[in-house]
């Protein structure tokens, strides 16, 4: 695999917007050309080479690996809308890493700030640390958030992770998140996301969830009153066919949503098991 190496010279004083750093933008360019690419430091337009030492080369996008070294916690938008190839960040990374990407892979060996993988359309984002709020969430005012792909976060994710996630079984789109622990309002307004929390979750997971599956292998600090207990299960089948075994309590919901597909039969009071929202919490 052809590699391009970027090393941050010094931490910028103001946030740096480096949406140019994607395999799509760097591939096929000489190092001299790459150094001249524009990035934004506050309102100043500066060159990539002003802030990074750059070496390596590449020819084909899917064969390109960009390795970035340094404390990038102030560098935003790395990997924005990338469609292939690979980015490895060895350090913390700023907001919006991998937002709207639709292919390829980003690995962050550190923590990520807010909006990591926001509105992901495909590909894989792996964060080997903690992530901020709004991981994989829809940007303000969008009704369709993450549509496909996978986000893995080793540590915790912040609030409103995967807000407005939008999966579709007929469309064969299964947006998926695996995280260590989660903040409040996990998967709010979910329309078919798959969320697996290895540890605990804060309040209101699955709020306003229309479809989707949330599995919490630890505890939840406060369960929404509009979730109804169905019973105990020993195995969970996720919408994408994968299975999780273990003792879980199954809840259906969110029953406060008018559009909820989980219909309650007026005569028998039973909940139909159609394609409705599910929340599983370890027994």
């Amino acid at each position: 695999m052809a590699e391009i190496k970027l090393k941050l010279k010094k931490k910028p004083e103001l946030p740096l917007e480096a949406d140019i750093i994607t395999p799509d933008n760097l591939v096929g360019k000489t190092i001299a050309e790459i150094k001249k690419l524009a990035i934004y430091h506050g309102k100043e337009v500066v060159k990539l080479g002003d802030f990074f030492d750059i070496s390596g080369k590449s020819t084909d996008i899917n064969d390109t690996k960009i390795i970035i070294e340094g404390d990038l916690s102030n560098v935003k938008r790395i990997g924005e809308k990338m469609s292939g190839g690979e980015i490895v960040v060895n350090g913390n990374v700023g907001m919006h890493v991998g937002n709207q990407m639709n292919g390829g892979k980003i690995t962050v060996n550190g923590n990520a700030d807010d909006w990591a993988g926001a509105m992901l359309q495909g590909g894989e984002l792996e964060i080997n640390g903690d992530a901020g709020h709004y991981v994989g969430a829809a940007y303000r005012g969008f009704w369709q958030g993450m549509k496909n792909g996978t986000i893995k976060v080793k540590g915790k994710v912040g609030n409103e992770t995967l807000a407005w996630v939008n999966g579709s079984k007929p469309g064969n789109r299964f947006p998926k998140l695996i995280c260590g622990s989660a903040g409040a309002f996990l998967g709010i307004h979910s329309h078919g996301g798959i969320i697996i929390v290895e540890g605990d979750s804060d309040r209101c997971a699955g709020a306003d969830q229309v479809r989707g599956t949330i599995v919490i292998k630890g505890k939840i600090s406060r369960l929404l009153p509009s979730f109804k207990k169905i019973g105990e299960v020993n195995e969970i089948e996720l919408p994408n066919g994968e299975k999780i075994t273990g003792k879980y309590i199954e809840y259906s919901g969110d029953h406060s949503v008018a559009k909820n597909h989980s219909k309650i039969d007026k005569k028998t009071g039973e909940i139909s098991n159609s394609s409705n929202g599910r929340l599983y919490i370890a027994a």
Binding site: E13, L14, P15, E17, Y40, H41, G42, K43, E44, M95, D114, W115, H133, Y134, Y139, R140, G141, W143, E160, W164, A184, F185, I188, H189, R203, C204, A207, D208, R222, L224, P225, S226, F227, K228, K229, D254, H255, S256, V257, A258, I264, K266, G269
Partner: protein, 442 residues
């Protein structure tokens, strides 16, 4: 005894809170150019008129800080110094705007665009979450006259108008007689939902005490019960299920209901999701009856700031011009977040006092960098500013437009002249724009 020459001005709009009462009568001593009496206004609105009178805390001339002390200077010097700060900054912040008129606000937008600055108004610390929720799920809103004439069920959720909007109750929501509510207070059922037994709660028909920060769960349960779902729990957020059922019946059986929500919903945990849920509840209640909701906006023209910013840039607050075009992302471009992360390198504060109401960590960073304050009188912010540009009080000393909390624009009036060399916010911003353009070589 000295003879006083008094002029009375009628139908004055009160430039204090979002209720924007338009029936004040102000007596002016023409010789002294001072306010001597205000009628019809509430206590807080009246005080603002009196505070415009010449006094020790009003600025009369521009000031520049040299060696830690404010020195009075000429307008030219002050504008030059201010423009210098703004032009040199790589990421300037323009904040405030909610207590001034719309024409000045649009000048603020122009200046921000020229500077590539970040533009924000006080909605980012009050009803910004309401705007986020409205973006997500829409909002069934109306004008205050509709509520006055029609509402027979009024809910104050996390708002305390007795103190924050004193005449709201008398003019629109509680005591006033309406076209279909001939008996005023007797024709309305008032519900207050709040963690505290506020003065508004004490004059309500029903007070629901919700646990702090658990409003979301309560709204969620109400929505589920409204849909006919049997809940597994006996109690939600400190409210029993029986009580929730009773409440839902009341909501369904009223003719016309309205929820007035305040910062008790927007600025407690869950923020915009509280509003999101409240909006969804209101929407779903319309399957049974007529129901609307209304944010209780605080500053008299914060609604105007949102309107002006929106028609100019497409966004209501937290706008970043650093890339030449407006971008919007509260949390990333909102003042408090930027200041806490120390991501701005100079600030221009217009008609606002962030030093009094921002978190300490943000204020510390605000003072660390060059600071310009446009304000009629001394505030904790202006006291620490490097350049102080003295303004006339919009709505008292100069005209302009302001938007009431329900987005109805009203014309503010000039009742007296500004003291000293004070000029309007709009004129100050115009001067700044000319100077900044000159320095940028445009």
């Amino acid at each position: 005894m000295v003879e006083r020459k008094i002029k009375t001005i009628y139908d004055v709009v009160c430039p204090f809170c979002g209720t924007l009462c338009d029936d004040l009568e102000v007596d002016i001593d023409i010789k002294e150019d001072s306010v001597i009496e205000v009628r019809n206004g509430c206590q807080i609105g009246t005080k603002k008129f009196f505070s415009s009178n010449p006094s020790g805390h009003r600025y009369l001339k521009p000031r520049i800080k040299t060696n830690g002390e404010h020195k009075e200077v000429s307008w030219d010097e002050a504008i030059d110094a201010a423009a210098d700060i703004l032009v040199k900054a790589k990421r300037p912040l323009l904040y405030g705007f909610s207590s001034t008129e719309c024409e000045a606000q649009s000048k603020g937008v122009e200046l921000a665009e020229i500077l590539g600055a970040i533009l924000d108004n006080t909605a980012s610390v009050c009803h910004g979450p309401s705007l986020l929720a409205i973006q997500d799920v829409g909002a069934p809103l109306s004008t205050l006259g509709e509520y006055k004439n029609r509402a027979d069920l009024v809910i104050f959720w996390g708002s305390n108008p007795v103190h924050a909007h004193p005449r709201h109750l008398g003019r629109y929501s509680e005591f006033v007689r309406g076209y279909f509510r001939k008996d005023g207070r007797n024709d309305r059922f008032i519900i207050v939902v709040d963690p505290r037994n506020t003065h508004t709660a004490q004059i309500a028909d029903l007070f629901i005490q919700v646990k702090p920060n658990e409003d979301y769960e309560l709204i969620n349960a109400i929505r589920a019960v409204l849909r006919g779902v049997e809940l597994d729990v006996k109690e939600v957020s400190g409210v029993s299920i029986e009580k929730i059922r009773e409440l839902v019946d009341m909501l369904k059986l009223c003719n016309f209901g309205v929820i007035f929500f305040g910062m008790g919903l927007t600025q407690t945990l869950a923020h915009h999701r509280n509003i999101d849920a409240a909006i969804c509840l209101t929407r779903e209640l319309n399957d049974h009856t007529k129901f609307l909701l209304e944010p209780m906006r605080g500053h008299y023209n914060v609604t105007g700031a949102n309107q002006v910013f929106t028609w100019n840039t497409g966004y209501a607050y937290s706008i970043d011009f650093s890339r030449g075009y407006p971008r919007y992302n509260p949390g990333e471009f909102s003042s408090v977040d930027l200041l806490i992360k120390d991501e701005v390198d100079s600030s221009l504060i217009v008609a606002s006092d962030p030093a009094s109401n921002f978190p300490a960590a943000a204020v510390k960073n605000l003072f660390k960098h060059p600071l310009i304050s446009i304000d009629p009188h001394e505030t904790p912010t202006s006291a620490f500013a490097d350049v102080v540009l003295p303004a006339a009080f919009a709505g008292i000393e100069c005209e302009g437009t302001a938007y009431r909390m329900d987005s109805v624009p009203l014309r503010l009036r000039k009742v007296k002249n500004a003291p000293g060399e004070c000029i309007s916010d709009k004129e100050i911003l115009e001067k700044l724009i000319i100077k900044v353009k000159e320095k940028l070589g445009e």
